[in-house]
Amino acid sequence: MSEKIQFDVIVVGGGMAGSTAAAIAAREGLNVAVIERGQKPGGKNYFGGALYTHSLVDIYPDFFDRKPPLERPVTETGFWFLSEDGMVKATVQGGHVNSDPIDAYVALRAEFDLWWAEQAAAEGAFYIPKTLVTDFIYQDGKVIGVQTDRPEGDVYAPVVIICEGVNNLLTQKLGLIDHDLKISKTALAVKQLISLPAKDINARLGLPDSKHGMAISVVGDVSMGMPGLGFLYTTSNALSLGVGVTLDALEETQIKPYELLQRYLEHPAIAPLVKDGQLMEYGAHLIPEGGWTTLPKLYTDGAMVAGDAASMVNAIHWEGTNMAITAGKQAALTAIEAHHKQDFSAKALSAYQDRLGELFVLKDLKQYRKMSAFLKNHPDFMDIYPTFLNDALGMFFTGFGKPKGKLYKDILRSLTKRRPLLKVVGDMIAFGRAVTGI
C-alpha cells in the first residue's frame, strides 16, 4: 500500500476558475493539486470568444508582459441585427472601446487555458491531468478529499474547490444543487472556426490592420425564432462564428444545431465574410444560462464551487470567463483563510459567498435573474425586433418619391403586423425589468 496522497487544496478542473484558484492558493504557499480530466488543461475547451482584461490583470499584474496567447484586441464591438435577408449594424469603435489596455481580447481557450495553467504551475500548483474525479471522500460528513477513476486514486485535502464546468455532476453529487442541468436553462453553442488570410479578414470587416479585431453579438434571424444569440469574433487569421440557443427550444423545434449554424453561415450578409475560408474546427459546447435561477449553494463543509459549474454566466453580456476567474480567486482566498484558521467548516467557507456578494459576480447574476424567464416567455423577442429594425431602416432609406406619411405608416405596420403595439410596450417593460432586475 502506498502512502496517502495529501495536498492542502484540491482543485477539480483546470479551466479558468480552476487554474486561477490554484495560482492564488499556490502563491500563498499552499500545496495545491489540480485534477484535470483532459489530456492537458484546455484540452476539453472549445471557446473562441473574448476574454476581459480586468480579470486577467487582477491575477497577474504583469499579464501582458508574460506573452499570453491572445488573438486580436477587440477594437470594435456591438450588435448586428439580422432579418431573413438583411442586416442592421450597430457597433462601436474608438471612444470607450479604445482604452489602454484594451478591455477585451479574442482568445481560443484550448490554447489559452494551457498557458493559464502554466502560469499557475509556475506559482507552484501541481497538475494531475488525464484523471477524472468521480466522487468525494467524507469524514464525519465533511469533504476531506476526492476519489478518481485511477487505481489507488484517492487524493486528500481539507478543502476542495470544484471547477468542473457546465456538466456539474460533482456539484450535484455533493447536494449543492438538487437537480441535473435543465434544458430550459442550458444553451448549446455551435461554432466553426474558419481560417482566412488576415488581409481578407481585415478587408471584409473593414478593419485597418491585424491589430484590430471585432466581437459581435448577432441577434435576430440567426436563432431562427428561438431565444438565442449568434456571435462573430476575429482571431489573427480566422473567424469564429457560432450561435447558441437553449436546449428546450432545439427540442421543441427539432431544428438540428448544425442546420442552425449552416443557415447562419449562408445568410446573405454573413456568407461573403467566410467565402473561401478553410474550416479549422467544428464543434459545440453547453453553456449554463440559468444564472441566479440555477445557482447552486456555493459551499459546504470542505468544498466550494466556482465557474460554469456554479452557473456563473451572464449570457447577455458574454460574461463567464471573467466571473470564473473572479470566483476562482475568491474561493482560493477563502481556502487560504481557512488554512490560517484551520477551520474548513461550511461556516468558515461561507466567507466565499460573502466575498462574491460584494463583487459583480453575484450582483449581476441576481440583477439578471429574470432574463431566462423573460426569454422563455417572449420566445420571438429576438426575431420580431431585429426584423423590424431592418424593415424600418430599409424603408426609411428607400422611401423616395412616396408620400412620407404613408412611409411612416408602412414602417409602423411592419411592426404591428407581427406584434400589436400594446404588446410591444409590454415587451419593452418586461425586457427592461429583466435587464435591471427591478
Binding site: 484550448a110 487505481p151 489507488e152
Partner: protein, 279 residues
Amino acid sequence: MIHLLVSVKQVPDTTNIRIDPETGSLIRKGVPAILNPYDAHAVAAAAEWKKKLNGKLTVITMGPPAAEESLKECVEMGADRAILISDRKFAGSDTLATSYVLAEAIKAIDKEDPVDLIFFGKQAIDGDTAQVGPGAAIRLGIPLITYAVEIKEINLEERYVLVIRKTERGHEVIKATLPALLTAEKSIAEIPYASLPDLINSLRYQPENWTAEEPFPYDPSQIGLKGSPTWVAQTGTPEAHEPAETISVGEKGLTGTVEEVLKDMFANKSVASIWEAIK
C-alpha cells in the same frame, strides 16, 4: 533480472494535421504532439514483461526538448529510466543518422547495464518509414523481428525470445537469441491505465538529458544534415481526384454507352497511339 529498452518518438498527431494551402507546409500551431502510438504499445508490452520478470525498463528518445513529455508518459506506463537525446546538432537527421544516434546510445546504456530486449514501434505515424528500428538492429548486429504482434516467451536462462510476427500471408513464430530487437504492432499490448501514484511519479520525474557531446561524443559526420543522405524536398497534399463521369445506360442503351466510352478514350492521344501500335 531482465533489462528492457524501448526507443520512442514524439510525433505530431497526424489525425489532427492540416496543411497550409498557401505554403504547402504543415501547420504546427495547435497540433498536439503525442507519443507515437506504436511506440506507446511497445512501451506497454515492455512494461508488462518488466512486471512479469521483475526487471528494469529504460526508455530513450531523440527529439526536441518538448519530447520530454512523451518520456514522462512512458514513465507513467512503467519505465524506470528515461533519456532524452537532444541537441541542435541532430537537427535534420534522416533515418540513417537517427538509427546511428539511437544505436550508439543503446550501446552506451548496454555497457553500463546489459540490455536483453529492445523495442521500437513498427513505424512512426509522421514519416511512416519503418526504417529506424531495423537500422538500429543492423548497427547493433543483433536479431531483428519486425511487425511483432505478441511476445510468447522470454527465456533468460536459455537466452531466447519467442515472438509472433505478422506477415502478409499470416503469422510467423520467430525464436531469436537475446539480445534481440523487435518492432511492435499495436496488438502487442494494451495501453495500461496507470495508478494515480504512478501518474504522479511520472509527472515529477525529470528525464536525463544527453547531447551530441555528453555523456559521450557522436561522430559529427554521421549526425544531422551532414549524416543524412536523404532529405525532404517538399510536402503537400495530393490533388483530389476529379469526380467520375456518370453515363446513364438507361438513356443511351448498352451499345450507345460503350460507344461513348470508347470515343472518349480515343479522344486521348496516347490511348489512340497505343491502339494504332497494337493494330
